[in-house]
Symmetry: C2
Amino acid sequence: MSTDYNGIPIPTIKRLPSYLRLLKAYRDEGMEMISATLLADELGLKPIQVRKDISCTGIEGKPKVGFSVNGLIDAIVETLGWDNATDAILVGVGHLGSALARYEGFGNYGLKIVAAFDAEEKKWGKKVGSVPILNPAEMGTYIRDNHVNIAVIAVPAEHAQAVAEQVVGYGVRAIWNFAPKDLKLEEDVVVQRTDLATSFAVLSAQVKLRLEQKKHRSGSVTW
Amino acid sequence: MSTDYNGIPIPTIKRLPSYLRLLKAYRDEGMEMISATLLADELGLKPIQVRKDISCTGIEGKPKVGFSVNGLIDAIVETLGWDNATDAILVGVGHLGSALARYEGFGNYGLKIVAAFDAEEKKWGKKVGSVPILNPAEMGTYIRDNHVNIAVIAVPAEHAQAVAEQVVGYGVRAIWNFAPKDLKLEEDVVVQRTDLATSFAVLSAQVKLRLEQKKHRSGSVTW
DNA sequence: TAGATTGTTAATCGATTAACAATC
DNA sequence: TAGATTGTTAATCGATTAACAATC
């Protein structure tokens, strides 16, 4: 009975949104079936990897034909839990927070930012995009009354930990953290950090590596 | 001679910025030596992993004492190639692009956005933060004259591929792509995608898994 | 039918983790 | 000295990839 199921591999989960985007584009072009081979080619992946990923969604294909585009779309959406929209609050309406509040793509992910909170009094009562900005003092009431489970944190790094603890105290179970700060929270709170530094680190390290390789090569033989 | 060196493991690279942030904070508090144990504890990692990561930077520690805080900071900065600032251009000054242009943290990563380009004529000549917004027609000249190697792309998904090809044509060697689109480019162009969908996918999948586990548990035995 | 594509099982690869000797 | 911490070498774990039979 101790299945100890850890869900779908995280690398697979990270690729699912790319499949989904592509599939929706193909669907809009009227395509009904699609092969893993084509998806792989389009995304620069190996067909076998795409098939493995797809198998995680529980969808089965037909040899020689491929997979149902609509079937795959539904399966991925369901696998990611993007089928029913989840309400979330945003904390911190600075430059980044504003951009997030105005971002229209969240609907595709089943995410809806229903309210924003900011420490600056002059913002209270205003809106960012279609999202009302409220006084943080109302946060607890809001979270409890609206059964909000997810908080998007876009406050300065030095306030992130405190804000996180606060919203968790009010009942939030998952945090999407845009502040450059590693949060320490109870085990059972899901935290996902989206960090520009981390992302850029991979880019710069690769650029550096390329430069060194080029140097090495030109230093030895030219071919 | 065929070392076939692939550089530092990507998971390690992704953790380096967290170490760096923490180390800088400790340095500012006057700490001179730090142990992998403490770093690990602070970030919720295992000491052995921190030691392995640190060893990738080439820094050596002293048994019982730990590592030099300043030495580690320098080594990480150097490993990531964040030691000398790189000029980059930003393409696309929408909500997200504006937030990126105004972001003050890039200095810490050795990244400097020196110019922005946007298709909207009314933005030309204006500034976003301290970054001038220019006519995309000038992009080629700008990139070549200023030897720009990195482009940050924050245009709508449907234009991302075309913009990427364009800047690469002008000499850009690395692209930080914020558009929800997988770019197909020559092998030797470094591309890093920072995608809200991907990030959120991991969060939602984990939330979904937790809910299912909770359901299972309450369905069977309570313990 | 022949050939492309699927799904499964096994092999490989790389990162994490464990064990432990070296050392300040 | 004793004990904490390092660095290395080996074991484990998990994801990717390969091989191949099944099938439309």
